[in-house]
Symmetry: D2
Subunit: 328 residues, 4 copies
Amino acid sequence: MIRIGLVGAGRIARVHARTVEAHLNAELVFIADPVEDAVKPLAEKYGVRYSLNPDDVFTDPAVDAVIICSPTPLHVDHILKAAKAGKPALCEKPVAMETETVTQLMAELEGIEHTTMLGFNRRFDPTFARMHKLVDEGVVGKVEQVTIISRDPAAPPKEYIAVSGGIFKDMTIHDFDTARFFLGDITSVYVVGQNLDPELADTGDFDAAVITLTNSDGATATITNSRHCSSGYDQRLEVFGDKATLNGENMRSHQVRVSNGEYTDAKDVYLDFFLERYEEAYAIELNEFFAAIAENRKPATSIEDGAKALRIAEAAEESAHTGKIVYL
Amino acid sequence: MIRIGLVGAGRIARVHARTVEAHLNAELVFIADPVEDAVKPLAEKYGVRYSLNPDDVFTDPAVDAVIICSPTPLHVDHILKAAKAGKPALCEKPVAMETETVTQLMAELEGIEHTTMLGFNRRFDPTFARMHKLVDEGVVGKVEQVTIISRDPAAPPKEYIAVSGGIFKDMTIHDFDTARFFLGDITSVYVVGQNLDPELADTGDFDAAVITLTNSDGATATITNSRHCSSGYDQRLEVFGDKATLNGENMRSHQVRVSNGEYTDAKDVYLDFFLERYEEAYAIELNEFFAAIAENRKPATSIEDGAKALRIAEAAEESAHTGKIVYL
Amino acid sequence: MIRIGLVGAGRIARVHARTVEAHLNAELVFIADPVEDAVKPLAEKYGVRYSLNPDDVFTDPAVDAVIICSPTPLHVDHILKAAKAGKPALCEKPVAMETETVTQLMAELEGIEHTTMLGFNRRFDPTFARMHKLVDEGVVGKVEQVTIISRDPAAPPKEYIAVSGGIFKDMTIHDFDTARFFLGDITSVYVVGQNLDPELADTGDFDAAVITLTNSDGATATITNSRHCSSGYDQRLEVFGDKATLNGENMRSHQVRVSNGEYTDAKDVYLDFFLERYEEAYAIELNEFFAAIAENRKPATSIEDGAKALRIAEAAEESAHTGKIVYL
Amino acid sequence: MIRIGLVGAGRIARVHARTVEAHLNAELVFIADPVEDAVKPLAEKYGVRYSLNPDDVFTDPAVDAVIICSPTPLHVDHILKAAKAGKPALCEKPVAMETETVTQLMAELEGIEHTTMLGFNRRFDPTFARMHKLVDEGVVGKVEQVTIISRDPAAPPKEYIAVSGGIFKDMTIHDFDTARFFLGDITSVYVVGQNLDPELADTGDFDAAVITLTNSDGATATITNSRHCSSGYDQRLEVFGDKATLNGENMRSHQVRVSNGEYTDAKDVYLDFFLERYEEAYAIELNEFFAAIAENRKPATSIEDGAKALRIAEAAEESAHTGKIVYL
């Protein structure tokens, strides 16, 4: 039984708390968050101890491993504290807002034996994971063109956008990781940033983008992002190879098709947002974290993966603003 | 080049005229129909001779083969005349309204060398034909359960229903032939007739029906019929075997899917009715007719097929009215 | 917090145990089953007390409500004991093997205030529940024809079939309830029983069946059952009305479509069997049970529903053996 | 009745000949091609006159309008001759290999009253045309992101590639026109050219490409091309707007879905190549040509459309070789 300490009591922390509780090999024992109104009810719901000082999680001897759901600026500090305390850590993405910060973190971690996993949940989604497995099994042949459609159902509040780090680090970061999942290291980035929603015109951020990536084998990935989509959270992936094409489709909450005098075989709108769409992915991600601890091995996603996705995001930012291809 | 004489100038005759004209190995040369307003413009459109006396088609030396699109009560007479004239004939279904009449016809044809094909167009539909081919190739294994959904877009006028011979001979006759196409000879028939549309309550005919058929191997076919369907002409077929299941889907006039805030991946309504839905089937049916003539062999569908479908229709009528299973 | 006692430690009991444990308003406190090798590990897994005597669950003061997963012959006894003990009960279907037994049970329950829910899980399946809601909302108009395809992935062992009560009480019972869910009370039953699998020829039971039901409005339901299906657990439902048609589709474990040189857009095989296919339905069923307790009201599915489905199953048995329509 | 003269007797000429013959308002009267082995059998098949000198078509008084299917280098000359002869002309794309040549042609045509239509057949495809209509009707809202997947089933012979003008003028030219159909004038082009097929490595041409286009409203189009696709001719289009998303799907020759122990609902491979996939589009294109003649108006596609698509192709070529965005 792995005893889990949770850093943070926000939205994603609550998802992890529920999954830990439902897991047979793990139990939640401690939650820390400076916001008492958030942490107290969550701790009471699960009958566990809590603290307003996140650092307490890392020093508590009853905590075997930690899940870091603190705000992004604290990630580096919390990862280091977990590593130094000898506690395996699962940290939400992104590691940091700047590649430089992550590079420093990696330098500091050198020499410390640690198990740190980064929460790129989509790799664990049953659909995307199955596609990756089919590629590994040779079903697709050589991967030549990856097409990612990734659109949020609606734009977040402007206050969120202001501190989000921009669309590439906030939203596309997941798609960059998906591109790396199928193409390996990326060598060039070209971005057309779009400002389509007049309501968001003054945010200083793009609200949509089309991105072309290449790898050293000459394969490509195109990412089409938008901050809105009338049908919900639009998450599709196509992997085209010389032997087969794979398409990962959107999910709905049921399997009903409606036919009437206007249209036929209409499906429901997509699952609304990431907590629903990737619910199963979050649970499988935790499984991987627990399995890596149990087997004393590196987890499937690392800080390095975070660093590389962040590097692409920075290149995307540069390309979108200069109108030039950025080579990595 | 096969020179075709057309008996009849109605709706289905016009479909055949167009197909003959577009065919490289056949040409339309003669049309006969007592209704001058129908036959004259059709003959002028294709620049061919016409007559108000159908019998002229059978005696015309320039006619190599005939397509019989006369009213059902004249089919037997026209089939016989074509046979006696030594002209291959394609006759629209049904042969007649009563099994007895068809039996007499078959007796009269005995001893006359003739090529007579019956227009069970659905057997030539690319979807149903492909399903049949997959069954023949063993892909499905042993056919165990056939499910036919067959609904018209809207009920015909009451005047038509009054002389139609009833839903089983008018509409289900095609589905009975489809059942025979996949199951061979039918051994039992059970029917629940439905009267669902209040507008049709006084027609003395059912406006919907659910039919269960069996063959001598213990396989089943269920047919679900309705005189109306909000989404158009609903024509689906499932063939379930011990190795695979085949589903034949409805057709639309284009391949657009629409997703919005209410629904996703909605397709267009179905092709509206049989002339559109089975347009390709009619052309392939004619191909088979011309090929049988050229190769001097029996066509794929015979008067016997018509007789057997008609016999099932009569059994269906009996079952629906007595509430009993009828064994053939 | 509702404290749950579980009667039985078999396959379905384990499903309920897991769901109860994951539920925030319920907790598992007691399990009873005479088979120590089954009950002991399950009790230990969840850290709860256990007994080898099922009766202990009904007398235990720490148990607020019971879930009855005992063998069918014990259901009546256990339902009565729960009712007399004043403990709400969720009982797996079927209530009993004979309508007479259920009628006696209902007579004995008269005068006892009790909350008894029957586990017709499919009513709670998100797809079927959504279809029912759309019917309630008038989207479909008048329901005219219901088509149920219900096939198991593979036949159970012959030993199971021998004591199963026959295909209609064991397998079709769920489909009869689905038909009642959409059509209300059933007035006639016609069945073609099939013996298609040579391996099962000596079981004395049908291994497939096609069933036609009617209700007093003249609407129909057809059920197509088979003990095997090459693609997995085939669970589809069509509801046809005068305004719209609804189709409930099969489920897969992921949303990948594969296209290659042989076929395109191929989906995965169906979820293998009922525990996976109806996993969500079981959880929502428990929710309804807990909600009925909390709100002190009748649950959505009752013993009467069980009795009525059983009565149809008996009529089906009779029709299949006599070849006659049975009127209810 | 419009009397048609056909310049050329190759593959696409034969498609047009058949469509003209099946058309009620047009008839084929003359074919010209210097290759006697091609022109003679075609002329005999349709019973029309022929010549080995293409110029004869333009001077023949019995010819009302011409369809130009000559090799690309002759298009300009033939368009001019038709215009000067006062005969409406439908010319296959591309007008020429260089924008400059087309500009000169347009200058020469100035002052000559002429009806010249360019064969961008895809605009007439029922699927793409329907999508355009839905955009026009406001169903999609503001068009924001267009995604075009366009892959050939297999690479043409190297000899063809050598004289094809390169992938952008030969293959992508159609996709550039589709992008213009939905986005209007294009303002920037960025291309990643790919060399994935080792067999084609020495052709000096790309065998795949990913292209990003923008228009002056900030909307984008991405085009993903490949010279091969295992499942056939892959022709898909997505139009994303703020109100709805439209998806144009691939076509198959029938509507059968196969389910077995390995996969479910598998469809057939795509229609193999453009003559089959766009068969209906070619017929509708001719309809538009005949309608424009009858109504004495400009046809839906003009030489200017050809010039603009060609200009984008040249920009694409430049971008692919320089690795820079090209602004138009």
